[in-house]
Amino acid sequence: MHGTAVTPIIHNYDFHGLLSLRIRRRHVSWADSFLDSTFAHYRVEPSGREPDIDVEVGPFRPDLRGALRLDGRWYVSPGRILYKTRYKVARWTTEIGGLDGPHLKVRIDANGPARMVFPGETIYSLIRLRLAEKGLLLLHGPAVTHAGRALVLPARGGTGKTITAVNFARRGWGFMGDDSSILAPGGVRSFVVPFNLRFTYDVARLLGVRFSPAKRREIFLKKCLSIATLGTINLFSRIDAREVFGPNIVDEAPLGAVYVLIQGPRAAISEPQPAAAIARSVLINTLFEADELRAMLLAYCYGNPESPLARLWDDFAVRLAERLFGCMLRRVTVPARYTPDVFEMVWRQAEEDLGRGARP
C-alpha cells in the first residue's frame, strides 16, 4: 500500500442532477490526483442523500462465498460481480454490488499505476452503466454548441475528435467536453473531463493558451522522456478543460446535429443520412469504447440471465435511434493528416446546419 492510512477522503460529484457519484479513498498518494481531477467539473458538497454510485478505493478482502466463477476471472452472484483487470503494469480488483438495485456499491483495490488507469476505465464503465439504466446515453464523442443547439462528433480515438472540438471552441462555440457527451431525453448534457494530450501535438499552440512555467517544464520533461525512450514511455498530459475554455463551457443544449467522423482517404462530408444508419455507427463506436463494461455485463448476465441488464444494449440502440430522429446527421471523412482546411470544411457545414435550424 502506498502512502499512509488516514481518515478517508470523500469527494461527491453530481452530473446535472441526473447521476450522483461519491468516491471515498483511504490513502494519499500522488497517483490519486488523477482520480480527483477527472470529474472535478462536477464536484459538489455532500447532500446527505445516498449516491447512485458509491465507490470506495482501497484494499479490501473480497467475499466470494456462493459466487459462480467464470473463466477464472469473474466471480458472479445475484446483484454482485467481482473481477480483476490488468493493463500493462496496472492491476486492480473491482467489486460491484447492488447491480439489481438503485444504488451501486463499488470497492476498488488498485496498485499504484492502476490509480491512473481505473478512473478512465472502471469509473467510466460505472457511469455509463448507471446512465444507460436511467435512459441516458454516454456517447463517445465531444459536443460543441452554436446558436443554442449542440453538435455531437462521435469518432474512434485518433481520428481528430479533440482537435475538431478544440477548434470549434476557439472560434467561440460552446464547449461540452472533448471526449464524451451525455444524450438525455431533452438534449445533450456536458461531460467535461481534463484533456488527455500526447506529444504528437504542440499542446499550447493547439489549445491557443500560454501555460504557467511549471506546466511548461512538466510538458518539456515528458517530451524529452518520450524522445529519449523512442516513444516507449509516452505520458499523457492532463490539462484542465475549465482553465482553457472556462467561459465557453455549456452544460445543456438541445441536439441539433451529429457528425460521425471516420478516417478515410480524403476529406468529405456526406449528404444527410437516415437516423438508423447513424445510430448504428454511434452505437458501434460506443461499444468499441466500452470494453470493460461489455465484458462485465456479459459475465454478469451469463450468471444472471433474467437480469434486465441483459437487455441494456438493445434498449440503448432503440433510445439512440429515437433521439437522433429529426436531427442533421452526416458522416465526415477525415484524412490521416488533419490540416486546417479539413476543419474549415467541417466548420462551414456545421455553421450552415445549426444556423439554418435556428431560424424560425
Binding site: R156, Y302, T333
Partner: protein, 258 residues
C-alpha cells in the same frame, strides 16, 4: 500444404498450411477433410505473404481498414502478430469469400505453438468468418459439447474450464456417441425443428483425453504422456472422419452445464 474441408455442405479450401508434424492437430477442421475434386468452394483461405489493396478504405484505430465488402486488419497479441484481409464480406451469390493471412515473423517459431503453428490463423481469423458463413447457411456454431444416444442429442454448454470435455468423455465411456467436445452446430430441419450436427475440432486431443485422463487438468506427467502418445502415433495420425460419425438427430434435449 493444402486442404479441402466440407463442413456439412460448406466447402472451405486452405492453402499454405505449415508442414506440421501433426497436421490433424495443427488444422482445427482436419476432421472435415475431403479429397480435392476441383469444384468451386465457398470460402478460400491462403496463408502466406500478400499485399493488401487499401485504396479508398476507411481507417479505424490504425488497425482496421474497411470499405464495402472488404476488411484488412493488423493485430498483435502476446508477442504474436498477424495481418489478414477478407474479401467478399457482402456476399455476392456464387463468389467465394477470400481470406489472405500472413503471420508475423515469430509466430510459427514460438514455443507454445510448436504443435499448432497455424493456430493464430484458425483462432483469430478463420473462426469468426466461419461462424458468419455457417450462420448464413442456417447452421449456428454453439460453444457446447454434444453427445448422442437413441437418436437424441444432449448439449453440454459452459464456459471454458468447467470440464465440458471430461463430461463428454465420461458419457462416451458409458456408451454415448460423441459429436464434439467443444463445439456443435445447431441447424433447423425443415420438418422437425432443431438438429444437432457434429463439429469435432480436435479428435486426436479428445481421444487422448478419452484414453488416458480422468479430468481436464493437464499435469506435467500428462504432457509427457501426450508427447509419447503423439510420437508413437506419428506415422498413423487420425484418419479424417474415422473416429466419429456425423449425426443428425432431433429433437434436441438441451441441458445447461455447470
Amino acid at each position: 500444404m493444402n486442404a479441402l474441408y466440407d463442413i456439412h455442405g460448406l466447402r472451405v479450401r486452405m492453402t499454405g498450411l505449415a508442414d506440421a508434424s501433426f497436421p490433424d492437430i495443427n488444422a482445427k477442421l482436419h476432421w472435415f477433410t475431403v479429397p480435392e475434386d476441383g469444384r468451386p468452394v465457398d470460402l478460400e483461405m491462403a496463408i502466406g505473404r500478400f499485399e493488401p489493396d487499401l485504396g479508398s478504405c476507411m481507417v479505424l484505430d490504425r488497425r482496421y481498414w474497411a470499405r464495402p465488402g472488404y476488411l484488412y486488419l493488423e493485430e498483435a497479441d502476446k508477442g504474436l502478430s498477424w495481418r489478414a484481409e477478407i474479401q467478399g464480406l457482402d456476399r455476392v451469390p456464387g463468389e467465394p469469400m477470400r481470406i489472405c493471412f500472413a503471420h508475423g515473423p515469430w509466430n510459427r517459431r514460438r514455443q507454445p505453438w510448436l504443435l499448432f503453428p497455424d493456430l493464430v490463423a484458425h483462432l483469430y481469423v478463420l473462426w469468426p468468418v466461419l461462424e458468419c458463413e455457417l450462420a448464413a447457411r442456417g447452421m449456428y456454431l454453439v460453444h457446447a459439447g454434444g453427445v448422442e444416444r437413441d437418436g437424441r442429442a444432449t448439449l453440454i454448454a459452459g464456459r471454458g474450464g468447467v470440464n465440458k470435455t471430461a463430461i463428454v468423455a465420461d458419457l462416451v465411456h458409458r456408451g454415448w456417441q460423441a459429436m464434439g467436445d467443444d463445439f456443435v452446430l445447431l441447424a433447423r430441419d425443415g420438418q422437425a425443428g432443431a438438429q444437432v450436427l457434429a463439429f469435432p475440432t480436435s479428435p486426436r486431443w479428445f481421444e487422448f483425453q478419452l484414453r488416458h485422463m480422468e479430468d481436464e487438468e493437464l499435469m506435467f506427467v500428462d504432457k509427457l504422456r501426450l508427447l509419447r502418445v503423439l510420437y508413437r502415433h506419428r506415422k498413423v495420425g487420425v484418419e479424417p472422419r474415422a473416429t466419429l460419425t456425423i449425426l443428425s438427430v432431433n429433437p434436441i434435449w438441451y441441458q445447461e452445464g455447470a
